[in-house]
């Protein structure tokens, strides 16, 4: 046994085995590289990318300014200033809706917290900027992200149930409530 080991160390047996392994990879060249800017990886459906504010089909904002997203956010990304819709005292909306995306950790808790499904996580992730201030988004920018990421505003499955659907539609046509 020791003699065998001695011979093995004499002819660099382990090193030769390692070199055989690397040569095997060299000859069966199968790279696992994804050439990223040219080839893009297909993302899963529940990918948590850039946040965006959503609208109803008629173009009104879904957000009712309830501040629940602000309360849910663990890194205090969101700042909501709630206000009455002018001329309609029963309705509220977010006058300001700012997100400091430099702090966002893309946990998706704000999306879960939203009672009216006004927030969505898009598949966008290429948000490298030269100026950090470009990542402090205001309401218009967030709405634009939502518009381009969700051109078809499908309701999330859990919001399609009629009992909760009350919040999820435009105020103009409230569906019949089933008992």
């Amino acid at each position: 046994m020791t003699f065998k080991k001695w011979i093995k160390s004499l002819i660099f047996f382990e090193i030769l085995m390692g070199m055989k392994e690397t040569m095997k990879h060299f000859l069966n060249y199968r790279p696992i590289t994804l050439e990223y800017p040219h080839v893009k990886k297909s993302l899963p459906d529940n990918y948590r990318g850039m946040l965006g504010l959503l609208r109803y089909d008629d173009g009104t904002e879904k957000c009712v300014g309830c501040d629940l997203c602000e309360a849910a956010c663990p890194s205090r990304v969101i700042r909501v200033v709630s206000a009455e819709v002018p001329g309609e005292p029963t309705k509220r909306y977010a006058k300001d809706y700012d997100m400091d995306m430099t702090r966002c950790l893309f946990c998706g808790l704000c999306v879960q917290a939203c009672p009216v499904d006004a927030l969505g996580m898009s598949q966008e992730f290429e948000w490298a900027v030269y100026d950090k201030r470009h990542l402090q988004l205001n309401k218009q920018q967030l709405l634009a992200i939502g518009d381009r990421a969700f051109p078809e505003r499908e309701k999330r499955l859990e919001f399609q149930h009629p009992n909760v659907a009350y919040f999820n539609v435009s105020f103009k046509d409230i569906p019949e409530k089933e008992c």
Binding site: G18, M19, T22, M23, H25, F26
Partner: protein, 354 residues
Amino acid sequence: MFDAGIKLALTLSQIGVVMGVVLLTVAALTLLERKVLSWMQDRMGPMEVGPYGVLQPVADGLKLFFKEDIIPAGANRIMFSLAPILVLVPALIGFAVIPFGPDWTVEVLGVEFKPFVISDINVGVLYVLAFASIGAYGIILGGWSSNSKYSLLGGLRSAAQLISYELNVGLAIVGVLLLSGSLSLVTISEAQAGGFWHWYAFDPLPFPQFVAFVVFLIASVAETNRVPFDLPEAESELVAGFFTEYSGMRFAFFFLAEYANMILVSCMSTVLFFGGWHAPVPFLQAPGDFAWITGIFWFTVKVYGFLFLFFWLRATLPRLRYDQLMRFGWKVLLPIALGNVVVTSILAYIFPNS
């Protein structure tokens, strides 16, 4: 006077050709190394510049050329500028004695001229070894004059490593010198004519120098600071070792010198142990006046084979720890090399004419 002028012009053009080929090979090697390494690691390597990234060396060269040349505060400016030159020049100067083809002498306008070796000096091996040691000064100076801890540590490591491994290179070569009876690389490569069984690495009588070849190869990997002996520039420990503080063209000089040293070491092992320009079997060698074509071809093939071995080792082996490196050099390689010298000299005495 006229003869001297012709001779000078011929030699200068020869130097130009050799330098050009070496520097082009260096450029090709930077790409080749990255490609080979990445293929062995299931990656792609450079793919962006040109088709399959073949123009990457050009892009690298342009980038290095336009980089800002920074001299760190507190650095010794003269030494700092001198170090890259002191590394690069010895690396390139060694090619003066390497025979790339047959040992022919042609007459050009009444001047004798050897087309395939720049200068056939009778102490060629010593010349190459001496200049390899001078290259170490450049590394030590570069490490010391940068005024950086990492550089200094890299330089010191390089010095200690070079001393212990240069000894093994020298002792491994002694066997070949005993067999060929000459220090001239031209004579050594001419003595290995006629098939691979006459190459010193395999020549059965008086004694095959294969062990010496392995020792030489390991020691020369250490001498060129390549993985697994790249302690002077260990990335994970010393940032970049002795050239941490260098940038721009000065960095490029170190880079060029490293690759030129690799080529030089490959040329040396080809000439000393693998028959120089001779074909592995005689019928693969073109007859008569065309021998130089196959000669240069086989020389290139062998040198690239050794260079590929360097890349292969780099892809396979992790870096040694420093005490392991020193122990391996002094306690393993040195006794083997000495034993090889003893056995070879005894056998060369018993079988004097084989």
